[in-house]
Amino acid sequence: MSAVISSGRAAKATKGGKSPGSPGGKVSKGAKGAGRQLHGGKITYAVLTLFTIGSLFPLVWTAIAASRTSTRLAETPPPFWFGGNLFKNLDAAWNDVNMGAALLNTTMVAGTIAAGTVLFSTIAGFAFAKLRFRFKNLLLMLTIGTMMVPPQLSVVPLYMAIAKLQWTDQLQAVILPTLVSAFGVFFMRQYLTQALPTELIEAARVDGASSLRIIWHIVFPVARPAMAVLGMLTFVQAWNDFFWPIIALTQAGNPTVQVALTGLGRGYTVDQSLIMAGALLGTLPLLIAFVLFGKQIVGGIMQGAVKG
């Protein structure tokens, strides 16, 4: 019986005897063959193409509608190809709600939120992943629990606060409440737990490095890919955030793109082609980012999902 118990070690020593379930062989095979590797058939391609069209069509049609006149949009059948009015509509939308300022505001807001989230999430995630301290597990559970709290629960007091501070239409009113993210902390913790070897930190400690030095010289370089992904995801989210900005900012004052969009083309008559042009302007920066970094964003979402 003792032979069975020690078979794992024995198998390793004898370069994996004959037992088919020897741990070494199984692991390497499992790692290579995880997931299925069957080839997709014609139907697979057909269905995926259908979904691709469904996903992209509303966006393409936004551009088509933005290139038409609003009278053309009130005719049947609806237009299927681009017209010649794109730049006129873009120009009108740009001036109607001061889109330039709105885009600049959104860039500043989303950029600051992304930077803050990445920085705070990385150091907190590092502490949760690799450092020992009391109440660590309790605090981690608390962090995950905060993801449950919807923004609706804080709007009334936050509104009272910005009314008192006279922060309406000030960008810090939308930046500060979303500057940290529980998801980000959890995401970085998951990444650093496996990507950062504990021996590396111990070695640095032995050399007399302080925790701050370790963060700067070891954690940041190791975490860089995950930081980039988290930054992109946060940027997208902050760019598209709607509920709190529409309360804290006004269309006529100092709006972000999303807030500006709600007031677009609403004169005596609703100008649909103008609205579409505005929607296009507000979405275009992210679409360009998707064309450039789509692969990384897809990878980031899938990476964050595994231990979600």
């Binding site: 995880a34 299925r36 996903s55 907190a124 709290v149 964003i297």
Partner: protein
């Protein structure tokens, strides 16, 4: 570089000899008092660093959460027991449970609750089923697989505002693309905005469009982690591809599916932008008959159209209690799942 390592052995790093070793290392050196003091200071700093810096690293998150999450959460509860007007938000008048009892008798509240539930179901169920199917297809070896993945994710990059504005046009009664297409197969124009079921379907369609691809990628990640020998042994037992999907893929994905259900449910409870903008700028009523007014939208209408911040707070806390119930139900289901495995 020996002195620091000698000190860390005593303070932090457990692997090297502890206790007796460190003092001996110090004693072996020349007992220069200045050097000794400097070392002592450094060692104290070191101990503090080890002990307290973890708290400093997690502090920013918790500080921000306390100020912008926890405190407002509690204060919303406090405000819900008061009469507060938007015109003078700092003036609060005690009202006891009035806001809650009023909510209980408020048909629009129950209407909003029901709409939130209905729209939640008809947006979440098809979305997750389609995402599961999509992930299954994406899990095949494909040419241009990255293109497909990025393509189905692009709706995620589109904001609620932009997406809803386009869908309002596509769902237009007289000139919308969807009614035109339905007309080709002989279906009369549907009033997507004023009907009850139709408008709820249309609002759900926006949610489905934006989130299906995102969830598909999450499922795909989980599918790729399923060990392939599970499939091999299932195939050896004569299981068809469909049976493999049903009996290997789905059970392996259970925790992930549960996770997406929870996240989608939380999202559905908060649904706000889509129903607000689907109304085409006509306010926060959620349609002329409130037929697609959700809880989130009702909260906004009470607070920022009818100027009753106290009532809005009561709605917010009711939402929170519902979410807590969902979380508890989820915890029970998760525990059952773990036991059954």
């Amino acid at each position: 570089m020996t002195p620091p390592s000698g000190f860390t052995a005593g303070t932090a790093a457990p692997p090297t000899g502890q206790g007796g070793a460190a003092p001996r290392a110090v004693a072996a050196k020349a007992p220069d008092p200045g050097e000794e003091r400097r070392r002592a200071r450094r060692s104290r700093r070191y101990r503090w660093d080890i002990k307290y810096s973890p708290y400093a690293f997690v502090a920013p998150f918790f500080l921000f959460f306390a100020v912008f999450g926890l405190f407002p959460l509690l204060y919303t509860g406090w405000a819900s027991l008061h009469r507060v007007e938007l015109t003078d938000p700092t003036h609060m008048e005690w009202a006891g449970w009035h806001n809650y009892s009023r909510l209980w008798d408020d048909e629009f509240f129950w209407n909003a609750l029901q709409n939130t539930f209905t729209i939640g179901v008809i947006s979440t169920v098809p979305q997750l089923l389609m995402a599961l199917g999509l992930a299954h297809l994406l899990n095949y070896k494909l040419r241009g697989s990255m293109f497909f993945r990025v393509a189905i994710l692009t709706p995620y990059a589109t904001s609620v505002a932009a997406a809803t504005l386009v869908f309002v046009l596509l769902f237009g009664r007289d000139y919308g693309m969807i009614n035109w297409a339905l007309g080709l197969v002989g279906i009369d124009n549907i009033d997507w905005q004023n009907g009850t079921w139709t408008s709820q379907l249309a609002v759900s369609a926006i949610v489905i469009w934006r989130w299906t691809g995102y969830n598909a990628l999450i499922y795909l990640a989980a599918m790729q982690a399923v060990p392939s020998d599970l499939y091999e042994s299932a195939a050896l037992d004569g299981a068809s591809r469909w049976q493999q999907f049903l009996h290997v893929t789905i059970p392996s994905l259970r925790p992930t599916i549960l996770f997406t259900i929870v996240v989608s449910t939380i999202g559905a409870t908060q649904l706000f932008g889509e129903p607000l903008l689907f109304n085409g700028g006509a306010g926060a009523s959620g349609g002329p008959d409130h037929q697609y007014q959700t809880l989130g939208l009702y909260l906004y209408e009470q607070g920022w159209t009818n100027l009753h911040l106290g009532r809005a707070s009561a709605i917010a806390w009711t939402m929170f209690l519902i979410l807590l119930l969902i979380a508890a139900a989820n915890a029970i289901v998760a525990r059952r799942l773990r036991k059954s495995q």
